[in-house]
């Protein structure tokens, strides 16, 4: 959907809906464990036209590697398509003895970052005030 199509943008989720939503890892992303126990993500890259052209001359990598820190790796492991954002916040606050609000702020920001990079998808469960899907969305 183009950025300027404001009328086609779905309504923002309520806090309750976003906490009930379920993050799911992108199946195209491979995760491998490093020696220190953290997770390294191998993300396939779809090259742009100019990168494809440039690849005839120089080496352009086909994958991108992202190394997650300890807490990032733990949250990545919890994005299994079963646990909701609320469950992940609960697990993180219990494991690292964080205040629930502290855990919530960091988990939500982190998941938003992962989703923005296309590493995870977020399944929003239909609720009472779930926005109706718009045509073409």
């Amino acid at each position: 959907m183009p950025r300027w199509a404001v009328w086609r943008r779905p309504k923002p989720l309520s806090r309750e809906q976003s906490l009930a939503s379920v993050p799911l890892r992108n199946q195209a992303v491979e995760a491998e464990r490093t020696d220190d126990g953290s997770i390294r993500l191998v993300v396939p890259v779809r090259p742009k036209w100019w990168a494809r052209w440039l690849s005839h001359l120089v080496y352009v990598p086909k994958t991108r590697r992202i190394v997650l820190d300890e807490i990032g790796s733990y949250v990545w492991g919890l994005c299994d398509g079963q646990r909701s954002v609320r469950d992940i916040i609960g697990a993180l606050s219990a494991r690292y003895k964080l205040h629930r609000k502290e855990a919530e702020v960091s988990v939500v920001a982190y998941l938003r970052q992962l989703a923005g990079r296309g590493l995870i998808g977020i399944a929003v469960l239909p609720g009472r005030d779930t926005p109706a899907p718009t045509r073409g969305s």
Partner: protein, 308 residues
């Protein structure tokens, strides 16, 4: 005045919330959503997962302090004005008292219409502040028990000369003359800077202590956290034990070599204390910058922190 009946659900878990000397109990799953203002006037909003549950407003009463009932009259008048045209007349149940607030000029009342809230408005005679607490409730549950507990636990005056601070699980007490100058409420780190005249005191709490201290010593973490404040001080640190936890203490004076102009000022002395509480997986730190040597203030504040 008839007392508010009902008691809070005992099974519910409660936490303390204190800001600028106004403190009360709130259910553990309610978290501050907005904190604004200073000692004289300000606003605090507390939310649960779905909605705003508590609002706290305080302001300086000025020279002529009106009685609580007159302030409630004004509040109700102003709130009625804000109602949309044609809205049904709100039901207001006034003239109630909270047993625990006996001795303070206060009035508890309930508003139904547009929004539903149990409120208590009180006038604190020493600080001359008007404090208004509202506990919101929905149609299904009138939250009377919760409101009763919150209002009953309300503390607006210093106890033993100390003001209570409690937010996101960090609880401590500060002498009443100290005022909050700056605060940082970040994920994993809470930091408050207080000032009284030229004296300065900072309280900090770092979560994820094990992860933090994996690549740094307690001393290095402390020096990094307060690097700006300790600039120019010639400090010496030593390992110590505090409440059975590994700790570090540091002390020093302002170096004249680093700040030559400080020769015209009184001698500044920095003291610091940090300890790692493995039970809570947190590091607590106090930094104090005063004129007096061996100032017990840092230890006094540290002693008031509930660490685990």
């Amino acid at each position: 005045m008839a007392p508010i009946e009902s008691v809070a659900n005992e099974r519910e878990r409660w936490a303390r919330l204190g800001w600028h000397g106004i403190a009360c109990d709130v259910p553990e799953d309610w978290c501050p959503g907005s904190l604004e203002g200073d000692y004289a006037s300000g606003y605090l909003r507390v939310e649960d997962e779905t909605s705003v549950r508590l609002e706290l407003r305080w302001e300086s009463a000025g020279r002529s302090v009106l009685p609580a009932s007159a302030l409630v009259d004004n509040f109700l008048k102003q709130t009625r004005k804000k109602l949309p045209r044609g809205a049904p007349e709100p039901a207001v149940d006034r003239g109630r008292a909270v047993k625990e607030l006996a001795g303070l000029d206060h009035e508890a009342f309930t508003w139904r219409g547009g929004f539903n809230a149990h409120s208590v408005l009180l006038v604190e005679p020493d600080s001359r502040r008007v404090v208004h607490v509202r506990v919101f409730f929905g149609e299904a549950d009138d939250a009377k028990g919760q409101a009763r507990r919150i209002f009953g636990s309300l503390a607006v005056a210093p106890r033993g000369g100390m003001l209570e601070w409690a937010v996101f699980g960090l609880r401590f007490q500060m002498p009443e003359r100290w005022r909050l100058e700056q605060s940082a409420l970040q994920t994993g780190r809470l930091q408050f800077r207080f000032r009284s005249g030229s004296d300065e005191l900072e309280v900090a709490r770092q979560s994820l202590a094990e992860v933090t201290l994996r690549n740094a010593t307690l001393d290095a973490w402390f020096q990094g956290l307060f690097a700006k404040s300790l600039r120019g001080f010639r400090t010496a640190s030593r390992a110590a034990e505090y409440r059975g936890h590994p700790a570090m203490r540091c002390g020093g004076v302002l170096s004249l070599r680093a700040r030559p102009l400080a020769v015209f000022r009184r001698r500044r002395i920095a003291t610091g204390l940090a300890w790692h509480c493995p039970e809570a997986d947190k590091v607590f730190a106090i930094r104090c910058d005063t004129e007096t040597a061996d100032d017990p203030l840092a230890d006094r504040v540290a002693d008031s922190i509930v660490c685990h």
